[in-house]
Protein backbone atom coordinates (compact mmCIF):
# COMPACT_ATOMS: atom_id res chain seq x y z
CA UNK A 1 0.00 0.00 0.00
CA UNK A 2 2.85 2.35 0.88
CA UNK A 3 4.59 1.64 -2.41
CA UNK A 4 1.36 2.18 -4.35
CA UNK A 5 0.77 5.53 -2.58
CA UNK A 6 4.38 6.55 -3.33
CA UNK A 7 4.09 5.60 -7.02
CA UNK A 8 0.83 7.52 -7.50
CA UNK A 9 2.22 10.53 -5.58
CA UNK A 10 5.37 10.46 -7.74
CA UNK A 11 3.26 10.47 -10.90
CA UNK A 12 1.01 13.30 -9.65
CA UNK A 13 4.01 15.38 -8.51
CA UNK A 14 5.65 14.92 -11.92
CA UNK A 15 2.49 15.78 -13.90
CA UNK A 16 1.48 18.77 -11.76
CA UNK A 17 5.00 20.03 -10.98
CA UNK A 18 4.70 19.64 -7.20
CA UNK A 19 7.70 20.17 -4.89
CA UNK A 20 8.75 17.44 -2.43
CA UNK A 21 6.68 18.83 0.48
CA UNK A 22 3.46 18.93 -1.59
CA UNK A 23 4.24 15.43 -2.87
CA UNK A 24 4.64 14.15 0.70
CA UNK A 25 1.23 15.58 1.67
CA UNK A 26 -0.43 13.91 -1.33
CA UNK A 27 1.38 10.63 -0.55
CA UNK A 28 0.25 10.83 3.10
CA UNK A 29 -3.38 11.41 2.09
CA UNK A 30 -3.26 8.67 -0.54
CA UNK A 31 -1.81 6.17 1.92
CA UNK A 32 -4.69 6.86 4.32
CA UNK A 33 -7.24 6.64 1.49
CA UNK A 34 -5.85 3.31 0.24
CA UNK A 35 -5.99 1.88 3.78
CA UNK A 36 -9.59 3.05 4.30
CA UNK A 37 -10.73 1.66 0.93
CA UNK A 38 -8.87 -1.66 1.45
CA UNK A 39 -10.18 -2.30 4.98
CA UNK A 40 -13.75 -1.25 4.09
CA UNK A 41 -13.72 -3.35 0.91
CA UNK A 42 -12.46 -6.48 2.71
CA UNK A 43 -15.02 -5.89 5.50
CA UNK A 44 -17.85 -5.50 2.97
CA UNK A 45 -16.87 -8.70 1.13
CA UNK A 46 -16.55 -10.71 4.38
CA UNK A 47 -19.71 -9.09 5.74
CA UNK A 48 -21.68 -10.12 2.66
CA UNK A 49 -20.17 -13.64 2.68
CA UNK A 50 -21.13 -14.31 6.32
CA UNK A 51 -24.27 -12.16 6.34
CA UNK A 52 -22.84 -9.82 9.01
CA UNK A 53 -22.39 -6.71 6.84
CA UNK A 54 -24.14 -4.20 9.11
CA UNK A 55 -22.49 -5.50 12.30
CA UNK A 56 -19.06 -5.41 10.62
CA UNK A 57 -19.53 -1.89 9.28
CA UNK A 58 -21.00 -0.68 12.59
CA UNK A 59 -17.96 -1.98 14.45
CA UNK A 60 -15.42 -0.61 11.98
CA UNK A 61 -17.00 2.85 11.76
CA UNK A 62 -17.62 3.14 15.53
CA UNK A 63 -14.04 2.35 16.47
CA UNK A 64 -12.55 4.53 13.74
CA UNK A 65 -14.70 7.57 14.65
CA UNK A 66 -13.64 7.27 18.30
CA UNK A 67 -10.04 6.60 17.29
CA UNK A 68 -9.95 9.89 15.33
CA UNK A 69 -10.08 11.71 18.67
CA UNK A 70 -8.83 9.28 21.32
CA UNK A 71 -5.87 7.86 19.37
CA UNK A 72 -4.55 4.57 20.73
CA UNK A 73 -2.02 1.79 20.31
CA UNK A 74 -0.93 1.02 16.75
CA UNK A 75 0.59 -2.07 15.25
CA UNK A 76 3.90 -1.33 13.54
CA UNK A 77 3.45 -3.66 10.58
CA UNK A 78 0.89 -2.64 8.00
CA UNK A 79 0.01 -6.21 6.99
CA UNK A 80 -0.70 -7.41 10.51
CA UNK A 81 -2.63 -4.20 11.23
CA UNK A 82 -4.97 -4.77 8.28
CA UNK A 83 -5.27 -8.46 9.18
CA UNK A 84 -6.18 -7.72 12.80
CA UNK A 85 -8.69 -5.00 11.83
CA UNK A 86 -10.44 -7.42 9.50
CA UNK A 87 -10.23 -10.33 11.98
CA UNK A 88 -11.72 -8.26 14.82
CA UNK A 89 -14.55 -6.94 12.68
CA UNK A 90 -15.32 -10.47 11.47
CA UNK A 91 -14.94 -12.65 14.59
CA UNK A 92 -16.94 -10.44 16.95
CA UNK A 93 -19.90 -9.91 14.56
CA UNK A 94 -19.99 -13.69 14.00
CA UNK A 95 -20.11 -14.22 17.78
CA UNK A 96 -22.80 -11.54 18.11
CA UNK A 97 -24.85 -13.17 15.35
CA UNK A 98 -24.62 -16.57 17.06
CA UNK A 99 -25.23 -15.57 20.68
CA UNK A 100 -27.21 -12.31 20.88
CA UNK A 101 -30.52 -14.19 21.12
CA UNK A 102 -29.41 -15.94 24.31
CA UNK A 103 -28.53 -12.72 26.16
CA UNK A 104 -31.46 -11.27 28.08
CA UNK A 105 -32.64 -7.66 28.08
CA UNK A 106 -31.32 -6.98 31.59
CA UNK A 107 -27.90 -8.42 30.64
CA UNK A 108 -27.76 -6.06 27.64
CA UNK A 109 -28.69 -3.08 29.82
CA UNK A 110 -26.08 -3.93 32.48
CA UNK A 111 -23.45 -4.42 29.75
CA UNK A 112 -24.27 -1.03 28.19
CA UNK A 113 -23.92 0.70 31.57
CA UNK A 114 -20.68 -1.10 32.46
CA UNK A 115 -19.08 -0.52 29.05
CA UNK A 116 -19.84 3.20 29.08
CA UNK A 117 -18.75 3.69 32.71
CA UNK A 118 -15.44 1.96 31.94
CA UNK A 119 -15.04 3.86 28.65
CA UNK A 120 -15.64 7.27 30.22
CA UNK A 121 -13.14 6.38 32.95
CA UNK A 122 -10.44 5.24 30.50
CA UNK A 123 -10.99 8.22 28.20
CA UNK A 124 -10.86 10.57 31.21
CA UNK A 125 -7.65 8.97 32.49
CA UNK A 126 -5.76 8.27 29.26
CA UNK A 127 -7.05 10.01 26.11
CA UNK A 128 -5.60 11.09 23.81
CA UNK A 129 -2.82 8.57 23.17
CA UNK A 130 -0.55 9.76 20.38
CA UNK A 131 1.81 7.88 18.10
CA UNK A 132 5.60 8.38 17.72
CA UNK A 133 4.92 8.98 13.99
CA UNK A 134 2.38 11.67 14.84
CA UNK A 135 3.09 13.17 18.23
CA UNK A 136 0.56 15.57 19.81
CA UNK A 137 2.81 18.42 20.90
CA UNK A 138 0.45 21.20 21.92
CA UNK A 139 -1.82 21.27 24.96
CA UNK A 140 -4.48 22.95 22.79
CA UNK A 141 -4.69 19.93 20.48
CA UNK A 142 -4.58 17.50 23.40
CA UNK A 143 -7.59 19.28 24.94
CA UNK A 144 -9.41 19.33 21.58
CA UNK A 145 -8.88 15.58 21.10
CA UNK A 146 -9.98 14.86 24.66
CA UNK A 147 -13.14 16.93 24.26
CA UNK A 148 -13.82 15.25 20.92
CA UNK A 149 -13.43 11.80 22.53
CA UNK A 150 -16.05 12.66 25.16
CA UNK A 151 -18.46 14.06 22.56
CA UNK A 152 -18.11 10.94 20.38
CA UNK A 153 -18.58 8.68 23.41
CA UNK A 154 -21.71 10.60 24.50
CA UNK A 155 -23.05 10.35 20.93
CA UNK A 156 -22.56 6.56 20.87
CA UNK A 157 -24.04 6.24 24.37
CA UNK A 158 -27.23 7.99 23.21
CA UNK A 159 -27.37 5.86 20.03
CA UNK A 160 -26.81 2.65 22.04
CA UNK A 161 -29.57 3.50 24.54
CA UNK A 162 -31.95 4.34 21.68
CA UNK A 163 -31.11 1.02 20.01
CA UNK A 164 -31.63 -0.72 23.36
CA UNK A 165 -35.12 0.81 23.71
CA UNK A 166 -35.99 -0.26 20.15
CA UNK A 167 -34.44 -3.68 20.86
CA UNK A 168 -36.90 -4.40 23.67
CA UNK A 169 -39.57 -4.74 20.96
CA UNK A 170 -37.35 -6.31 18.32
CA UNK A 171 -34.33 -8.15 19.74
CA UNK A 172 -32.61 -8.22 16.32
CA UNK A 173 -31.61 -4.61 17.02
CA UNK A 174 -29.48 -5.78 19.97
CA UNK A 175 -26.96 -6.97 17.36
CA UNK A 176 -26.11 -3.33 16.64
CA UNK A 177 -25.96 -2.50 20.36
CA UNK A 178 -23.38 -5.24 20.82
CA UNK A 179 -21.43 -4.14 17.74
CA UNK A 180 -21.12 -0.61 19.12
CA UNK A 181 -20.25 -1.84 22.62
CA UNK A 182 -17.50 -4.20 21.46
CA UNK A 183 -16.03 -1.60 19.08
CA UNK A 184 -15.92 0.99 21.88
CA UNK A 185 -14.39 -1.50 24.33
CA UNK A 186 -11.73 -2.51 21.80
CA UNK A 187 -10.94 1.13 21.14
CA UNK A 188 -10.72 2.24 24.80
CA UNK A 189 -8.61 -0.81 25.69
CA UNK A 190 -6.20 0.30 22.97
CA UNK A 191 -5.48 3.34 25.16
CA UNK A 192 -4.02 1.17 27.92
CA UNK A 193 -0.39 0.08 28.41
CA UNK A 194 -1.53 -3.53 28.46
CA UNK A 195 -2.84 -3.14 24.90
CA UNK A 196 0.42 -1.53 23.75
CA UNK A 197 2.25 -4.63 25.10
CA UNK A 198 -0.31 -6.89 23.41
CA UNK A 199 0.27 -5.13 20.07
CA UNK A 200 4.07 -5.35 20.50
CA UNK A 201 3.64 -9.08 21.08
CA UNK A 202 1.54 -9.45 17.89
CA UNK A 203 4.17 -7.49 15.93
CA UNK A 204 6.88 -9.75 17.37
CA UNK A 205 4.99 -12.95 16.46
CA UNK A 206 4.30 -11.59 12.94
CA UNK A 207 8.01 -10.84 12.40
CA UNK A 208 8.99 -14.33 13.64
CA UNK A 209 6.47 -15.99 11.31
CA UNK A 210 7.76 -13.89 8.41
CA UNK A 211 11.37 -14.86 9.19
CA UNK A 212 10.43 -18.55 9.36
CA UNK A 213 8.67 -18.24 6.00
CA UNK A 214 11.89 -17.09 4.27
Amino acid sequence: METLALKIADKIAFELGYDSEKKMIVQYGLFGLIQIVTILLINIIIGLLFNILFETLTMTLTSSILRKYSGGAHLEKLGVCTLLSVAVSTIFPLMIKSYYKYLGVSFVLISIILVFVLSFFLIYKLAPIDNPNKPIKTERKRKRMRKGSFIVLIFFMVVTFLLFILGIQNQNIFRYCWSILIAILWQVFSLTKLWVKFYHFIDFVYCKIKLLGR
Partner: protein, 40 residues
Protein backbone atom coordinates in the same frame (compact mmCIF):
# COMPACT_ATOMS: atom_id res chain seq x y z
CA UNK B 1 -5.32 13.45 -17.80
CA UNK B 2 -3.90 16.42 -15.87
CA UNK B 3 -7.39 17.20 -14.55
CA UNK B 4 -7.70 13.66 -13.28
CA UNK B 5 -4.39 13.91 -11.41
CA UNK B 6 -5.45 17.30 -10.02
CA UNK B 7 -8.68 15.77 -8.65
CA UNK B 8 -6.78 12.91 -6.99
CA UNK B 9 -4.24 15.38 -5.56
CA UNK B 10 -7.07 17.55 -4.19
CA UNK B 11 -8.83 14.58 -2.56
CA UNK B 12 -5.54 13.33 -1.08
CA UNK B 13 -4.69 16.81 0.25
CA UNK B 14 -8.12 17.21 1.89
CA UNK B 15 -7.77 13.77 3.48
CA UNK B 16 -4.21 14.53 4.65
CA UNK B 17 -5.52 17.70 6.31
CA UNK B 18 -8.30 15.72 7.99
CA UNK B 19 -5.76 13.18 9.26
CA UNK B 20 -3.60 16.05 10.52
CA UNK B 21 -6.43 17.35 12.70
CA UNK B 22 -6.98 13.86 14.17
CA UNK B 23 -5.12 12.09 16.96
CA UNK B 24 -3.98 9.46 14.43
CA UNK B 25 -5.05 7.57 11.30
CA UNK B 26 -8.60 6.26 11.83
CA UNK B 27 -8.00 3.06 9.89
CA UNK B 28 -4.83 1.04 9.94
CA UNK B 29 -1.21 1.93 10.27
CA UNK B 30 0.05 5.45 11.13
CA UNK B 31 2.90 6.61 8.84
CA UNK B 32 5.24 9.49 9.68
CA UNK B 33 3.31 12.74 9.34
CA UNK B 34 4.78 15.32 6.91
CA UNK B 35 6.42 18.21 8.79
CA UNK B 36 4.20 20.86 7.18
CA UNK B 37 1.05 19.17 8.52
CA UNK B 38 2.26 19.01 12.11
CA UNK B 39 0.21 20.95 14.61
CA UNK B 40 3.17 22.50 16.47
Amino acid sequence: MKKFYAVIAAVATVLATMFATSACFWFGNQPVEPASLRDE
